[in-house]
Amino acid sequence: MNIKDGVLKIDSSLNNLELEKLSHEIKNNIEQIKEVTIDKKSIVTSSCLFTLLISIKKAKTDISIPILFEEIDIEGFGNVSIISKG
């Protein structure tokens, strides 16, 4: 898990099993995290990544996750808008 100065950078190439493992690590270290970003070096492997972002936000609402509020360009996905009502 890559946390630097409170910023967690999630590798976009993680598959579902890796995301599940990461979710446990985040849970155990959530107090250290202030912001979550996506490392877009590689293309997104699993759409489950977006679900994880919402779960993180639910776990600690003061974590900043820009992709949930702003449009972000992701390779292969174009200009991405994540619309979450809950």
Partner: protein
Amino acid sequence: MSTTKDRIIGIFIEESTEIIQQLETELMILEESPWDKSIINEIFRGVHTLKGNANSFGFTKLGGFVHYFEDLLDFYRNPNNQLNKKIIQLIFDAYDVIKEVFELERDKIDKYPKEYENILKQIKESLEIDLEKIEAKIIDNNKIVIHKQHFHHDKFDKDEIKNISKDVKNILLDSINEDKKIFNIVMQFDTDIYIRGYNHTLFFKLFANLGTVVKSFWYMANNIPELEIFDIEKNYINKVSVYLVSSENIDEIQDVFEFIAEDNEVGISIVDISLFESAEDEIMESQLIKVNEDPIKNLSINQSNTSVSNSNTSAKSIRIESSKLDELFDSIGELVIAQSFIDQNELIRSLNNLEINQYLSMLNKTTRLIQNKVMNLRMIPIKDTFLKMKRVARDVSNKTNKEIELILSGEDTEIDKTMVDSLGEPLIHLIRNSIDHGIEANKEDRINANKEEIGKVYLSAMHKGSNFIIEIKDDGRGVDTQKILQKAIEKGIASSEETYTKEEILNFLLVAGFSTAPTITDISGRGVGLDAVKRSIESIKGKIHIESNLGEGTTFRIVLPLTLAIIDGMSVKVKDETFIIPTLSVVESFRAKKGDIQKAQGKGEFINFRGDILPIVKLGELLEIDYEPLDVEQTTLICIEHEKGRYVLQVNELLGRQQVVIKSLSKKLAIIKEISGAAIMGSGVIALILNTEGIREWLDTELENKKIK
């Protein structure tokens, strides 16, 4: 411990098995209504899903065959193309190949079914398919052109355009100038797509081969769990709306969804450029996604405004492992027992308090209600099993050259699911038997017997009391009981010195090795079938009865308990021990008079029961209970039905009739053949459930030993 991959393959196999079973039922309906395009559409959908699954999970032999079969079905979905008998037969033959090849691949046997190539060739010939053309359509991963019918739904949300930013909109509009089209693709997948091996991202990779994805909206579900219970197996993305710029035509876009397209899952539209222009003035950057402040906090405010489909969370049915239902049922059994404890507790009863009594009554009612509801969860209509028999009748009719009509009734009668699987084989055999042996050999014989040319076989189901009854009745020749008796004597099953009732003679048909068929065919007549039928029925606590009238026909009646988890029983007492006798086996309980009892030296006691001399089994002695033997006249006698002959059980007292939850015995106790299980009575007493078959076996051995001596 199974891996995720194993579990996914397990789900695929389970789903495919269900599809294949369903296909058989639908084919029978298709044969009856070949003009009904809705049925062939239904079959097509099942086959299409099967193909997608098969190719995705490496069942390539199945996928390859189904691919052509799907083409055949697709051809006949067209209202202008009518099915004929030859094609229907080909569809049936193709189904048989599909079933066999699936089983081979499932069992990892690297082999093709015998008819695989032959039927494939017939399908190709039937369609006049140019193999080369078809193969050219197959791309590297076995994808072929998807049928347009799957994409006729227009899911395009015009209002969504207002939420596209100006910059992105400009990119989209510029693409028009380059002679490209804007496709809006809406994907609304089930919650289980990850388990099925799919991911939204897979489709984005395929879009990349066709053009450029400029914009994507990801509409997330409201019920995404918190981090503690993050679930990677469930898709929480309700809808993904994609704007793809491409110079390809819509068919190429549709190809991407070859393996996942189901009605309502995917919608593809070409976006009308004028919509962008008219929306121009309305576009407000701030409107892009009104969740900028905090999407989580906005939950309750925005719910009513959302246009996101909640279809994923409002599924009408869910799949539950039957073992979980069994566990639930066991728990309900415990609840019923606990409730009975309370109900019969002397201390509580002695309170005689109106309020407590009302609460107890409420508890009692609610417990029974829950018990019935849970019981119903396991109940399914016998319809699918019955419809499969139509296929059996069809095949036997063809093989025997006998024209047959199988008439079904009571198909919607519900039965415990655990019993359905055990009923398939016995029913197949009985239907075959009715057609092969029951129905006259030719039309002339039927006409001479003043019957209709077409033989009739009736298959019916009904609930009667606490039993489920299936009847297989034919209007054929009937059974010649004299021939049966003669054969039974020749085989040493019956004695020429004894007299037998008609029912007893008919029951010889159920004895192992008995066969009256002059020749052994591959349909029936091997002499093992009816015995196996009887054993199968008994294994699910049922009974089989035969009635027959020479020249008029034969009826096989299967009587089953409604469920295997609960038994309707008579509770009896021997000294301080309580036993349960399955009510299905009980003919009558009665008190004996002195003159009715006869003692045969060295052979025990017998009783004259309605003219029949029946052996008496003293339950106390049989189970070696330490008790003071009573005279037969002072006790209760219970006549037990058995195809080898009735017998009478002697017990001290008849307590009553009630339904009890069956508890299985430990391995050590399970070897006692006279006992089949146990039940906890409302008083907390454990009662053993008697196995009337085992007692009959013991009795026969006893009588045989005494005869030898």
